[in-house]
Symmetry: C2
Subunit: 238 residues, 2 copies
Amino acid sequence: MRVSELVRRSGVPLATIKYYVREGLLMPGSPTGARQAEYDDVHVRRIRLIRALTDVVGLSLQRTRDVLALIDRPDPDLFATLGRAVAALPPYETQREDYPRARAALALLGQVYDPRYPAVGQLERALEAAEAIGIPPTPERIAVYGEHARAIAEYDLAHAPEEPANVIEYAVLGTALYEPVLAALRRLAHQDIASRRLASPPRRSAGDPDPSDDERPDPDDDERTRPGADESPGPRAR
Amino acid sequence: MRVSELVRRSGVPLATIKYYVREGLLMPGSPTGARQAEYDDVHVRRIRLIRALTDVVGLSLQRTRDVLALIDRPDPDLFATLGRAVAALPPYETQREDYPRARAALALLGQVYDPRYPAVGQLERALEAAEAIGIPPTPERIAVYGEHARAIAEYDLAHAPEEPANVIEYAVLGTALYEPVLAALRRLAHQDIASRRLASPPRRSAGDPDPSDDERPDPDDDERTRPGADESPGPRAR
DNA sequence: TTGTATTGGATAGTGTAACTATCCATAATG
DNA sequence: CATTATGGATAGTTACACTATCCAATACAA
């Protein structure tokens, strides 16, 4: 196919495609003559992948390129590759020599603590943040989160493809792309549970239609209960 | 305390603090005279919160402001507030009328499907992305992820503070700030499981300094980091 | 009291990231 | 043969998150 077709199929503007090629994220088309090149499904898929990593996972183009490079030139050492892929994921932490909170958490979970794992630094940072804002990670909470995280990870690894060539891609992309899925499911579970539990009790004003009714969340339509209804609530300057 | 003290205590440059005040993220100090103002722990904490939301959760200052506004002027309707907070979290999706993948997933999990929940759009987007790159969400996977996500969410809600004033803050910040924790734990579980399972193959030789390799985690070359044949009696064994 | 430092407030400047637009010479297509 | 599309290069744009400078008015220290 020609570029115009790639533009159509990917929904990405030509200028942007050219930009991705320039930046080394997208491979150039195979030349068919001096001034023409041919593109195919590989390009379409690659563009989709770039968009998934930037828009959904939230990576910068730079980090996206790093991840793509891991997939393009697979290192036989899956373990090291996975580590490098994880390092491309936020939050970004510069390597330290010790991560006390992460160490304690991993000890609790009976997992290996090695400060060279990028994810250890990321965990430390996340725990620090939680602590700093006043929702400290209790051992109990760590145990609960860790247990479920591990169960999910077990599932992930148990369902990796057989062919070694694909394993790396599966591991790298699966780690990155199922995080948003998990996050969204947790958010939705919060909403679901909250709607069942607190949909009625505390607040109810005069004209409210029977609030104790259902276990389903907010079937009624009024503005104030509508989740994403208003854009920016605050007293803005700007 | 004065600004200089706030700078010292928060580690954030004065220019940045001024910028945060200008942008409505940080409340001004209470004036003590025409040309002086007083700051306190509220300011210190607020700055920490801003940094946590931007650096760890990865929000823009704009989104951070939205989240802070939710906390500052709590709406008694926790459910709607939670929805708005979720809308400030990535991935950012514009409202559609239907989200087929999310609908199917939620049906599978026995949860409410309401296209007005921001997290529904986020889930759709995440599932689309996973599908587009060739690791499609099987019902089984959805079930596994959903089950664990829900268990975590149950734990979260079961441990919310009693005072209604704090509930909103807990819910909003807990949702946002424990996502990175969960993500990091999953990444670490991947590493841990992978290291146990495929730790052996084409590994380097003993005294090899391997310079290309310095940041790469390799728990295998050091017995201190190696739980090996399960001498650690953690809750890990399932 | 005097002089230096600090403050709040305003405004302008910087650097990066991710595009977007324009130009051009050729090459394919109708 | 005229039109349109293409690849390649280069320049411009927008948004964001700061960062720096300036200034007049204190605050406070000597």
